[in-house]
Symmetry: C2
Subunit: 404 residues, 2 copies
């Protein structure tokens, strides 16, 4: 497997682009993205579990119910959620894509991200559609990645190439989300494309399995969005024998998909609103996978630990405390905790109690911008990793007055 350029345009037969159509006032910020496959693709998607769901999710769900899609349209600046006419607007977006590109309206994935509860006008989208369609190209990944950003400060894009039975396949993706879970940012969107031939059933299986270890293991602020969505389009243009069951080819595909999703997860967590540090919490020695996950998530979700990491304070008591309230079958007298970064590793807790450590080294370790929190529960064989970020003044600033 090899990391390559190109994001959603890395795989054969995918064009992408993005323009400013006027949903956002800031004319220098693109706000409308389009991805189109030369051929109809198998498609899979997962959605937020929030009861409040953005209208675009309803429409997308219905459009890919048959397992196929060919295009993705996504606007930023407005989530099209909690509006009386949301579904109508989302359907209209699909029809506009169909008119401009010739793709069937029922093969369009539609997504929106931005403020909740403000009606989304179709006018700027309608007026911009011709320009948007002209903008798409096999090199248009960056424009699309930019157009889906809200409070993101960095473009999130990745692609890898891999081989199935000697045939080179590619998979790539873009993401937006300055936090997995920002209701009003409405929030995490991931679009993945591949030219690997894979049945829609197996694509769905691959995605559903992958997200339990990736996008379900990141958190910026504990708020689950109304518009979260991850979609994969697979157009089969690589020419490999279609993957229709588990086996070596499927495992290879899963690995490639996982490389893409883990990269996007880390990018999202590192670019969490106001974040200065990426936190990676690795738990091992758990009695069950559920416990490993619960412990890792509790730690990266703890506001107190997040604030301590911002302050480069080796406050391991907060790690232990989070494990204590996040799990039910941990023997706290067995827990070991270390902090690690490019500057080295510092062991701070052994068998649930503090051990002497160099505060100087700890500070040096924690001043880095990627911190690993290593936890051994010494109680079993299961492991899990979660990603998050620190809690900073800027998080409060960004969210204290988002609408106005």
């Amino acid at each position: 497997m090899k990391i390559i350029e190109g994001g959603v345009c890395a795989a054969q037969g995918f064009k992408a682009g993005g323009i400013h159509c006027g949903i956002r006032k800031n004319r220098s910020k693109r706000d409308l993205a389009l991805i189109v496959s030369d051929k109809k693709a198998t498609a899979a998607a997962v959605y937020t579990t929030n009861l409040v769901k953005g209208a675009p999710l309803t429409v997308t769900k219905s459009n890919i119910a048959d397992g196929y899609a060919q295009a993705v349209i996504c606007n930023s600046g407005n989530a099209n959620t909690c509006n009386a006419n949301g579904v109508e607007i989302a359907n209209e977006m699909c029809s506009l894509v169909a008119e401009a590109t010739g793709v069937d309206a029922k093969d369009v994935v539609v997504a929106s991200t931005g403020v909740i509860g403000e009606p989304l006008s179709i006018e700027p989208i309608k007026n911009g559609m011709a320009e948007l369609n002209e903008s798409i190209s096999y090199n248009g990944n960056l424009a699309a990645a930019e157009a889906i950003m809200t409070t993101d400060t960095k473009v999130k894009s990745i692609a890898v190439s891999f081989e199935i039975d000697g045939v080179e396949c590619k998979i790539g993706g873009i993401a937006k989300g300055s936090g997995m879970i920002h209701p009003n940012m409405a929030t995490m969107l991931v679009f993945i494309t591949t030219d690997c031939a894979i049945s829609s059933e197996m694509l769905k299986k691959a995605l559903s399995s992958d997200i339990t270890e990736t996008f379900n293991m990141i958190s910026v602020d504990g708020d689950t969005s109304t518009n979260d969505m991850v979609t994969v389009l697979a157009n089969g243009m690589a020419g490999n024998a279609e993957i229709t069951s588990e086996g070596e080819a499927f495992s290879t595909f899963m690995k490639a998909l996982n490389t893409v999703t883990v990269h996007l997860c880390r990018s999202i967590a590192a670019d969490g609103e106001g974040a200065t540090k990426l936190l990676e919490c690795s738990v091992q020695g758990a009695q069950s996978l559920a416990t490993a996950k619960a412990a890792a998530k509790a730690v990266i979700c703890s506001s107190l630990l997040k604030a301590a990491m911002f302050g480069a304070d080796a406050n391991w008591g907060r790690v232990l405390c989070a494990i204590g309230y996040g799990t039910t079958d941990v023997d706290v007298t067995k827990v070991d905790v270390s902090f690690k970064s490019a500057k080295g590793q510092v062991d701070v807790c052994k068998n649930g109690a503090g051990i002497p450590f160099s505060e100087e080294l700890a500070k040096e370790v924690l001043l880095e911008d990627e911190i690993d929190i290593l936890i051994n529960l010494n109680n079993g064989d299961f492991a899990s990793t979660a990603w998050g970020c620190d809690l900073t003044y800027d998080y409060v600033k960004i969210n204290g007055d988002y609408r106005t």
Copy 2:
């Protein structure tokens, strides 16, 4: 029922005091509190559900297993948690109280609050015990209330008088906690005293029932502490016929207890770390009590809503979103939301969608320091209230470098 002065000393026969013994470096901050009842009292307590429990909780639990206690000792500055010799130290604190006051060591409630994982030296407590015992008096409530504070900025104290069968009884309490749930603050402690005669069984029943509507309904930052504890001592000195079963007297006692606990809850939430505003979220029209509670708690726990309240931003989409991820049986198309304060009320969402409102009035309403978030789920007859606070720059500042 009447609000009166005196806190834990309001009820007959309770002395209290507090001194600086040297656990904290700052000599102007009291760090050791003592409450002593003239007579042995029935006692009840509830504890944190965190798997990581402070050593003092273990000792207290054992000491009041027989339903009785006569004194409370509490230090601030160190949580005596995750230390190898924690239980030994906590037991020694009880023995020191016994030596100084004559109370049986097995009748002492012991509590500690402060940093986790640093050994607590018995020396300053031993050296200060004589002075502490001399400091207690029937007017010593304030000194005790101060001595248990950590990052609290305000003393939290309340008392009420009430009548049982024509006999005047009193109940009062003090609390510390700049957040219900701050692991490393180790954190919320509440001591309540009453001269009402009530069996330990009924006292336990009253407390267990009360906290589900009070202390379990506040949150500052979603981190459940290792040292949370609420205790009530009832010494019977008011002379009423002992309450030994449910009925009118028990109901009256419950109401008095609830007045004390709700006041302390509001005080804790309003004084949340870095908080500038108290948030009270009242949910009505829920299909079940569990749903009403879940919705109210999700709203006051949402970092995004808390940041919006800090910014006086009427971002109701975040309220709806929190209801959406916090509950499972809400019809989001029926939900109404309003913000209310001393400046008036502004309705912002009707049937799950935004309605036009004056941004000017909303700003005025939200600039107050007590904000009510009113939610009607229009889906049933159950209601619940939760308390929290805004998320501010100062929360990050306080917690970015707590240990050093």
